[in-house]
């Protein structure tokens, strides 16, 4: 190989090397471009702020492609507004960010990447001024983004070196701009989506709030009704299709004494009294078919077995014609029923009382005749003789009949006691024995010696004792002893006993019966309260009332299964008991004077007349007040004026004792008038003196009573001047 050949060979090789070096350089460029794309793609994909995406793109382009000034601008009309930029030669801000884009440039730019040479360049960016440095661009590349979502935006790349240097980067920069633009669109869409999301969220929040509010209102309403349900005094319950209790309010649970668990879910019918089950089943049937039931009366059963009378308004709740549940508002009318029964009882008693009063009045008159005549007849009999004894029996029977009418009258009118000094012992023994006659219960009496006398209405006190003994007897169905103790009692006021200090007699009636349940002890004196199936509820009430009227006091102490003790205190009196000795009657049969008997009843007039005449008085009669007054005036003017008038209080259809007494006292204020009536509890009888009478005499009366009272009055009359 010649030298020339070798030289040629070397030249060839050098040329090849040069080509290879150029290719190598191109490859290096391409590698660098790919790297730049990769870096930018990687960076911007993790940023979700448009401005930051742009900044990263601009900086990386500037650094790796050595372009000193890179900017992102918005095209608004002919104005180019720089929003982001990167200038590698300064950290200071740009002085002006708005530049005018010449119309022809604008047109070109909108169609694609546009490179401007130095002259055109200075038209757009005459000088880019930074705070500390001016940058004069000699070459400018404008690349529009092709976003369909946003206004026209431009990327501007400027350097101060050759045009060529910038032009080789165009394809790469176009790709980068496209990539950044796509990312911006992406973020923009996400932002729009977020906005929509937010709006939606706002709506959802608003709607949620509405629902919350509505719910709250509903809850408040619910609570209101729940409170009504819980606090109602009436019972409320709901029943399902099967007749089971779905819910019941506290009032119902309390009334029926069941816990929720014991009550809820159970068939209603289980809580209905057996005698009302059938009726209630029928009612439920009606309800299930949609019928309303008003003021429905039935009887429920409490846990302790007690019967609860109820009245209910029941409404079936329907849903589209289908029965859902019943809603019942139920009133416990047990007390009301009882009250109604009591009122009925009272009315009944009132009418019985009126009837009794009416009968008693006539009956008294009849008794007056029987008793009077028996008394008179006894005068003609020899004591100890059978005949005398029979008459005594008639007398005793009549007296009992008298007591009976007296009770009837007291019962009918409740009246004031007509007090007289009495031996309590006698009253107690008589009453107790009378009640216990024929029963398997006996009384064990214990009376103190020198028992003080009491000033009482013997009839009423007898009733007290009888009532208490009856109670004791009934509490001892198997028989036994009732201890009856009576003793003197001086009360000094030191104890908490609700009566005045003073002298009393204390009557203790103690049985060994069933006793009174603890919770009922306080109620036993209430009218119409009774522990007995057939009790009137009046016995102890009347007893209490009588004791009170006597300024006395009654106490009870009872233990179930052990017995009951009643203690009655009655004020003692200094007065002496008037002794009536049958034997000494005769001593009084020497009456002198004139007595008028005013009574509408012929029988009474005759008997009284007979008795008075027997005693020795001269007797005149009057059928009523008018006649009595006229007769009195007439007799008053005679030599033998009337000394004493026995006046019947009540004269049907005529002038009664009260008015007649008035008239007569006008004529003679000193007139001795004795009021006589079967109504021992009439206020006039109790307070006879206030009406001008000197004495009162309960019909019927026995001879010795008549004798004593009239004799007494006559004596007073004689003593007066």
């Amino acid at each position: 190989m010649s030298i020339s050949e070798l030289e040629k060979r070397i030249q060839d090789l050098e040329a090849k090397i040069e080509i290879l070096e150029k290719e190598n350089a191109l490859l290096a460029d391409r590698r660098e471009d790919t790297l730049l794309l990769g870096i930018i793609a990687e960076r911007i994909n993790i940023i979700s702020d448009i401005s930051q995406v742009v900044d990263v793109g601009l900086e990386n382009i500037s650094l790796l492609k050595d372009i000193p000034f890179c900017a992102f601008c918005r095209l608004e009309g002919n104005d180019l507004n720089i929003t982001n930029y990167y200038f590698s030669e300064s950290n200071k801000p740009l002085n002006t960010t708005t530049f005018e884009l010449p119309a022809q440039v604008r047109k070109k730019v909108l169609s694609g990447a546009t490179q401007l040479d130095k002259d055109e360049c200075t038209q757009v960016f005459p000088s880019i001024k930074f705070e500390s440095k001016d940058f004069s661009s000699t070459s400018l590349l404008l690349i529009p983004t092709k976003s369909k979502l946003r206004k026209t935006e431009l990327f501007s790349f400027a350097n101060s070196s050759s045009n060529e240097k910038l032009s080789v980067t165009v394809p790469l920069l176009e790709r980068i701009v496209e990539m950044i633009s796509a990312r911006i669109d992406n973020i923009f869409l996400v932002m729009e989506l977020n906005k929509l999301n937010q709006a939606l969220e706002q709506k959802v929040l608003g709607r949620t709030q509405e629902l919350v509010n509505a719910n709250k209102v509903l809850q408040e309403k619910e609570e209101k009704y729940r409170n009504l349900f819980n606090e109602a005094l009436d019972m409320i319950h709901f029943i399902d299709k099967a007749g089971n209790i779905i819910d019941a309010n506290p009032a119902e649970l309390e009334t029926l004494q069941y816990s929720r668990d014991e009550f809820i879910g159970k068939p209603l019918i289980d809580f209905i009294a057996p005698d009302f089950k059938e009726k209630t089943k029928n009612a439920l049937g009606k309800l299930f078919s949609g019928e309303e039931i008003k003021a429905y009366h039935t009887v429920m059963l409490a846990k302790d077995g007690s019967r609860i009378e109820v009245e209910a308004n029941v409404v079936p709740e329907m849903d589209e014609g289908q029965f859902v549940q019943t809603r019942a508002i139920i009133r416990n009318i047990t007390d009301r029923k009882k009250m109604e029964d009591n009122i009925l009882k009272i009315k009944k008693l009132e009418s019985v009382g009126m009837l009794a009063g009416g009968i008693a009045h006539d009956f008294n008159n009849i008794l007056a005749a029987i008793l009077g005549n028996a008394s008179l007849a006894k005068l003609n009999a020899i004591p100890g003789d059978k005949f005398h004894d029979r008459l005594s029996e008639i007398e005793q029977a009549s007296l009992r009949a008298k007591d009976l009418t007296q009770q009837l009258l007291t019962f009918a009118k409740g009246g004031e006691p007509i007090k007289e000094v009495t031996s309590a012992e006698e009253v107690i023994k008589d009453s107790a024995s009378f009640v216990l006659r024929g029963s398997n219960v006996r009384c064990a009496f214990r009376f103190s010696e020198n028992l003080w006398a009491v000033e009482v209405d013997a009839g009423q006190i007898s009733q007290v004792i009888q009532n208490l003994i009856i109670n004791s007897r009934q509490s001892m169905p198997l028989g036994g002893n009732i201890e009856v103790v009576c003793e003197n009692y001086s009360y000094d006021g030191s104890k908490l006993i609700p009566f005045k200090p003073g002298r009393y007699i204390k009557i203790i009636i103690k049985d060994h019966g069933t006793g009174i349940p603890h919770n009922m002890v306080d109620k036993i004196f209430d009218p119409y309260f009774s522990t007995k199936q057939n009790g009137s509820g009046l016995g102890l009430a009347v007893t209490h009332s009588i004791v009170m009227k006597h300024q006395g006091h009654i106490e009870v102490e009872s233990r179930q299964g052990i017995g009951t003790t009643f203690t009655v205190f009655l004020p003692a009196t200094e007065k002496k008991v008037k002794e009536y000795q049958e034997k000494s009657w005769v001593e009084y049969l020497d009456g002198k004077g004139k007595v008028m008997v005013m009574d509408d009843d012929q029988m009474v007039r005759t008997t009284a007349g007979a008795m008075l005449e027997k005693i020795g008085y001269e007797v005149v009669f009057a059928k009523d007040g008018k006649e009595a007054v006229a007769e009195y005036i007439k007799e008053n003017n005679s030599n033998t004026p009337i000394d004493i008038i026995i006046m019947d209080l009540t004269i049907p259809g005529g002038m009664g004792g009260k008015e007649a007494a008035n008239e007569i006292l006008k004529i003679n204020p000193e007139a001795k008038l004795i009021v006589s009536s079967g109504y021992s509890d009439d206020p006039i009888m109790a307070n006879f003196q206030d009406y001008g009478f000197c004495s009162a005499m309960v019909k019927p009366y026995r001879l010795h009573e008549l004798m004593t009272i009239v004799g007494q009055a006559m004596k007073e009359s004689e003593n007066e001047p």
């Binding site: 350089a25 290096a28 870096i39 990386n60 050595d66 030669e89 300064s90």
Partner: protein, 280 residues
């Protein structure tokens, strides 16, 4: 991370320079190079501060110092600013310790102001024209391109750091974070690139002859695994500087402060003590 309790600032030419200072005794000035800032001394600073008055500075455009772009970051200009800095602090004499470009600054400083230095320590330092700085336009020059890439791509930066450290296990995310801190801001990145662009090996080639006439003791420490700067730089320095000593540390790379801080401290303190005896 700070080197000591508090940082100080000093105004040089209208820009704020950040520095750390601690300890008593003769003054030592620690000067970092490119890609780092004062933090690179964090394992060295406290050890030296036990016996010396140690100052670690953030060069302009680095660390927490200002980052103007209209000021030259060429090493001779940095050296000039360091002179003003030392004067401003009223320091009359000190030990100059420079790493990487900081070593270049040390050489310039030693040539220009030999009276101010007790001695000079160069750690994996640039010198002569052995460091491959091309004109800025020649972006394909590997180191510049690597700097560029590093400024835009943290992956590249991490790679750059990792290559410069011998004990790879020391490359923790925390360490990378320290390196990356200035690059997290656009201003920091601009300053970093500005620094790279300002590099001009003429600065050091100009003093080649002066170095041969340098009187002061010079310690040359080289992490021998440095992939960026060749051993020949260190050998030439050792050969040409009359009163110089070369310490090669095989288990150290470019960032030898991370690899062998104790050995670096030992070499420095031994060197300084010996010099002191000689000086006395």
């Amino acid at each position: 991370m700070t080197l000591c309790k508090e940082s100080n600032t000093c105004n040089i030419g209208g820009h704020s320079i950040t520095y750390y200072r601690e300890g008593n005794g003769e003054v030592i000035l620690l000067v970092h190079g490119i890609t780092t800032y004062s933090f690179i001394w964090r394992n060295i600073f406290p050890e030296l501060a036990k016996n010396y008055d140690v100052i670690a500075v953030d060069l302009l455009g680095c660390g927490d110092s200002d980052k103007p772009l209209d000021v030259s970051y060429a090493i001779k200009d940095h050296a000039e600013r360091l002179y003003e800095f030392i004067k401003k602090l009223g320091i009359n004499k000190f030990h100059f310790i420079g790493h990487d470009l900081g070593g270049g600054m040390g050489q310039i400083f030693a040539v220009q102001h030999p009276e101010l230095l007790y001695d000079l320590t160069l750690i994996n330092s640039v010198a002569y024209d052995f460091w491959p700085v091309q004109p800025i336009i020649a972006l394909r020059a590997p180191i510049i391109r690597q700097f560029l890439m590093a400024s835009v791509d943290f992956g590249t930066f991490k790679f750059l750091i990792k290559r410069g450290i011998y004990h790879k296990e020391n490359v923790t995310p925390e360490l990378i974070d320290l390196f990356l801190k200035p690059l997290r801001t656009s201003d920091g990145r601009k300053a970093f690139l500005h620094f790279a662009r300002c590099l001009d090996n003429h600065n050091l080639m100009d003093i080649e002859q002066d170095l041969r006439e340098l009187k002061m003791p010079v310690l040359i420490i080289r992490g021998d695994a440095d992939p960026y700067l060749s051993r020949s730089i260190a050998e030439k320095l050792n050969e040409e500087i009359p009163n110089s000593k070369l310490v090669l540390i095989l288990t150290g790379s470019h960032y030898i402060q991370e690899d062998e801080p104790k050995r670096v401290v030992n070499s420095i303190t031994t060197f300084m003590k010996r010099q002191k005896v000689i000086v006395d």
